[in-house]
Each structure stands twice: as C-alpha cells, then as structure tokens.
Amino acid sequence: MSADRQSADGTVNRRGFLGISAVALAGVVLAPGVRLIELAAGRSPGEPVTNQVRWGMLIDANQCDSGCTDCVTACNTENGLSGGTLETDSQWIRKIEVKDLRGGKARSLPMMCQHCAEPPCVDVCPTGASFKRADGIVLVDKHICIGCRYCIMACPYGARSFVHEALTDQKPEVPRGKGCVEACTLCVQRVDRDLSPACVEACAAAGHKAIIFGDLNNPDSEIAKRVAAFASRQVREELGLNTGVRYQGI
C-alpha cells in the first residue's frame, strides 16, 4: 500500500501526496465540526467566545400577544432599567404594533437590537467601543465609549439608547453609566452562563414561546431547524445586514 505512495528513494510521489493531503484536510474539516458541538454544549468561564457559534433569536409574530409586555418587563428587571418610556429613558426592547394597511392584519412584535453580522453601529464608531463579539453579539465597550451617539444615528432599528443622567443601584453584572450608549446585549451575562436571555424565558413563562434563542450555526439547534423549515424574515433585509434576530409571520 505504501509502496505506490512512496517512490524508491522514500520521497512522496504525486498520488501519495494527494492522498495524504486529503486525509489531513478531512481531519481539519472534521475536527472543527466536532469541536463546534462541544463548544456549543457549554463553554467554561475561562474560554474565549469563538465565531463557531452565532447567537440569534427567532421571533414568531403569530405567537406574540399584542397586550403582553412580559419580555419588556423581564428585560428591565434583568438589566436594571427604569422601565420609563420617555425619549431620554433607556429602552433595550420595545413592543411595537405593525399593520398591513391593505389587508388590515395587525401584528405585535418585540423590537430590539438585531445583532447584525454587518452592524452599521460598529462601522461608524470612532473609538472602537461599538463592536461585535466573535459569537455575533453586538455590544458597546463602555470603557471606550465617548458618548458621541453616532451609532444611535447609524442604527436602522432605533435600538440604541443613551444614558443621560447619573445612575445608582446598577446590577452587578450589568454595569451602566452616564454618558454611554447602550442597547440589548442578548443578556450576554446570562448567555455566558449558558442561560437564555431574560425576554425569552419570560415569553416562555407567559406561555407564548414566541421568542426562541439559540445558535444559528448549529444545525441541531431548534432555532436553526426552524429557520431552515419555515419562512423567516429579517427586518429591513434590503440593507443586507444579516441580522441575528429574525421574524416569523410578518
């Protein structure tokens, strides 16, 4: 077997080289595939996030109840937001009503940072404070944010808020402060502990299960299966931002 791969002087001939390369390549391809499942199943607190995972949400507008604001309340509680809805209040998630003007069909759905793969907020940030984590979560590094609010202007979804006044009694895991821009973090502090975001849990607890959360890159995850099985849409998909939050039934 090895005789036809190796010539008499011990060097690897062309066919042998190709064979070995194919085996090596299969190993490389296979190994990350296996690793992907391991990583998704649970990352230790000391391990950095990788781009093998892409966190996303699928929101089913058919299941979303127009009177229910449990996701908003849960977000406010988890992240220590005041719950005010003034222009100067931080709102990381809002419930909005959309209506098909011709057909008359109304829909209610939650709207928040869409965690784009190509986020405009990151493009315009002059300091690098606005960034996309390797696993697809778009965040603001508030240590670097200078509060210029370019990202607020750049975001097509109006998802970002600015903290106008000094805050007290922040949550230990959700530092927030005056002069910084902030938005939905997909409850990154919970995701890092292998939990789903607060809005997802609240929606399930209310019995709607309109929001599911998971790894879009993992074909075995519920969200990837649903995205593969049913038509889902990205809001303002014409912008080509490849959002991590997708909607079903709009």
């Binding site: 950095p48 607890a205 998971g214 995850s221 990837a224 079903q248």
Partner: protein, 173 residues
C-alpha cells in the same frame, strides 16, 4: 523652553520633579479625614479586612497592581466573554464589601474608598459598576424546557398559524 531644558543638567529637573511629588504627597497627608488611623507619626488609611484568609495574590502585589489586573480582566470579559472569578471586579467586591454597609465605597472606612481617598486617586469604577456584592443574585439557573439555546433533540413545534409545511426536514451536514 528648549534652551532652558538644555541649560539645565539632568539631575536638576529630576530633583525638581521629586520635590513636586513630595509636595503633592505631603499635602495629601497634611489634611487627614475621618477614617485615617493615627498609630504612628503618619496617618494610615483604616482598611477593613476582607472575607476569607487571603487575597488572590499577596497584599503588596495587589496594592501595586490591582488596577492593571482589573483592566486586563475587563477587556477579556467584555470582548471575549471570559468570566473567571479570580480578577473580576465582582470577585473583589464579593470579599471586600464592608460588613456594616455591604459596600466598597460610601465612606472612608470602606475598602476601595478608604485607600483611594487617602492616596487622592479618583475612583471611577463605581459610576457604572455596582458597589455591592451580587451574592444575592442567583448565579445558578437552568434553562426552561423547550427553550434551550443550544441543542434540542425534541421535535420542534409548528407555529399555530404558520405555513403548513408538514414534518421538519432533518438537516444533514
């Protein structure tokens, strides 16, 4: 200006700098506030003892380097999601929060503020970060059934009024 520097010998400005530093340091000591201990000739900040036997590193090292450790850790946490306890600010607060007030700032007897006001170094962390430990916040939780974000072997439910597409095709690699 350049000429002045050139005319001056090196030790000259070094001594000047030393004097300036001594003046600043001397002024800080000259105005002791509450929370300072007067055991010897020089007042010292009263530092409340933390929980547990010892810190994550020895005290001298931590006094000099805690800010570097924290800054390194914060970047790791924010950008890479590394949430190890050892050098996390929440970890510090967990041990060093005052037994009385439960905080690390608030009065000059509290751990962080005690030293920082003594050394006249501005402490910005707690404009955004909580100064209380999160021990009351439960870190243990389980995912609710059916909303596991990672893998789910259970068949997925079809939306109530969604398109009727029949069984979900299984995706192959």
């Amino acid at each position: 200006m350049r000429r002045w520097i050139n005319n001056c010998d090196r030790p000259c400005w070094k001594i000047g700098l030393l004097l300036a530093l001594l003046m600043v340091f001397g002024l800080a000591l000259a105005d002791p506030e509450t929370g300072l201990e007067f055991t010897g000739r020089v007042p010292k900040p009263a530092i409340e003892k933390g929980k547990g036997d010892k810190c994550v590193n020895d005290t001298e090292f931590m006094r000099k380097n805690h800010m570097t450790l924290l800054k390194h850790q914060r970047d790791e946490t924010v950008h890479s999601g590394i949430r190890t306890k050892q050098y996390s600010l929440n970890g510090c607060i967990e041990c060093h929060a005052s037994q009385k007030t439960g905080r690390v700032i608030g009065s000059n007897e509290n751990f962080c503020q005690g030293c920082h006001s003594y050394a006249a170094v501005q402490l910005d962390c707690f404009e955004c970060h909580a100064s209380k430990p999160q021990s009351k916040v439960s870190l243990i939780g389980t995912r609710e059934e059916g909303i596991a974000p990672v893998t789910s072997s259970a068949p997925i439910s079809q939306p109530a009024s969604g398109p009727a597409t029949g069984n979900v095709p299984k995706r192959t690699k």
